[in-house]
Amino acid sequence: MPTYLARRIGQSVLTVFLTLTTVFLLVRLAPGDPASAYAAPNATSADLARIREQFGLDDPLIVQYGLFLRDLFTGDLGTSYSFHSPALDVVLDRIPYTVTLAVSAIAVTTLVAVPLGVWMARRADTRRELGANVLTIAGQSMPDFWTGVMLLTVFAVVLPVLPASGFTSWSGLVLPTATVAVLQLALVSRLVRREMTTALASSYITVARSRGVRESALTWRYALANSAVPLVTALGTRFAALLNGVVVVEVVFGWPGVGSLVVRALETRDYPLIQATVLVTATLAILVQLLVDLAYPLLDPRVRLGKAA
């Protein structure tokens, strides 16, 4: 177990490092020039050269990378071009919002999708189940932009019960959460339905039924416990994805998370900010994945960490 953990952490660090390196190179190799983004419209080529020098972009790529690494190991990710403050701090300021939205969306998704999926599995192929199924597919196919604008129109404009934008009180969390959850809901409830349908048809369920175990216990104790690994995997993956920020939803609702920050960093070619964002979100995502993996043996005793799963 300790060796497993050490190896996994080593792998994680390597993954983050490689991701960061790739991003470092890609932003610099992509066409476009930060200097022109920050120069005055009538800037001369001398002005541009001076900005490039100030940003350290006039050095050869390999030298830039070396300096980047040197600073990285001291925890310095450079100064954001557009915020004029340490890039890492800019990102870390946004992280609580992103984590709040991600946790809230995953919690709502779980609380709704699990009972819904179980219900669909129990009622498989009845007319009402078909209706629910169609609805979830609709939810899944709806662009989050559209869902967001719909919810915004209904609950903030037509019936002004919820704030339309920003995060000034907890009620500001409701609409962004709902928008993200609608998409996740469809994916997760259909996964629960599939897994539960398989589990409920298993031999151990029939045998437990022969012992007089009630249908509710068969469903919630036996079948659900046997669906836990794929369910937790899916929820973990979704959660990790949400930690990267939900760009469209954040923009629609003016949510000050990492997603809207990324858009701004890309638009302004703010290299240090892009790099800091990637470092933080990749680390979070990998951490979540690690926790999910560590949970497997608790969910299924046949899984042994470090062995092929």
Binding site: S203, Y204, S210, A225
Partner: protein
Amino acid sequence: MAEVTTTAANTPTAESTPLLDATDLQIELITAHGVVRAVDGVSFTVRRGETVTLIGESGSGKSTTAMGVLRLLPEGLAVMSGSVRIAGRDVVADPGAARAVRGRTVSLIPQDPMTALSPVHTIGRQLGDALRLRHPGMSRTQARDKGVELLAQVRIPQPRTRWKAYPHQFSGGMLQRILIATALAAEPELLVADEPTSALDATVQASVLDLLMELQERTGIGMLMITHDLGVARLVSDRIHVMKDGRFVESGSAEDIVERPAEPYTRELLAAVPRLGAWDEDGDERTEPVAQGAAP
């Protein structure tokens, strides 16, 4: 639970009402390849203290009959007709009756021990649940003590330490014995045993059969036994029904069927199946061959 335990023992007609009385039982299975009539009008009776055996080649409909008796075939994919009375209550006509008798009046020893227990729950949890369903007042500790005792009865070594083990930590033969213990936890009056010894090696097989017969002598339990093995059938049965393509081709006392088989099909079964104890080469790990495709 408000279920009345209308068991044969405490009704006035206890002696005359058979534990199990199937009349013209027909079961059609809806499969991907159309409707299969897996059981085609069979009638049989099991009284207390009796063992009635169904024997027949793979795919002849034995398991379908057993599962139908307990109404455990998937609703919507299996169509039953005729009647199956368990302690007087018709489970074909009344799904509630089936729920009421399962785990109380009747229990099942399933055919494939490898898939019959939930892989993510300990065997103690599953056996303990069975005990506590039967005795709602029982505490977890009491259930554990009783369960350990049952495991010892079916010769699981170190039952107390094994209580917390998971199904994948046991061999097929041990799982089959754990399933027997779980079935006995219900203290049933009728035991439906679908090849209860098929995954056991010869010595354990004999001792498990001994256990079941001793239990029967002591408690007067009735048994519907399913087996491939005429040696086993002869040893334990009062009556044998020989099954082929969902029908009984021959029925009679154990001795008549084994010593004086009338049907060529029965004689083939006699010739094909080795005697008790002749299949111990691969020992405890033996699992049942897949049933598919063997039907004529």
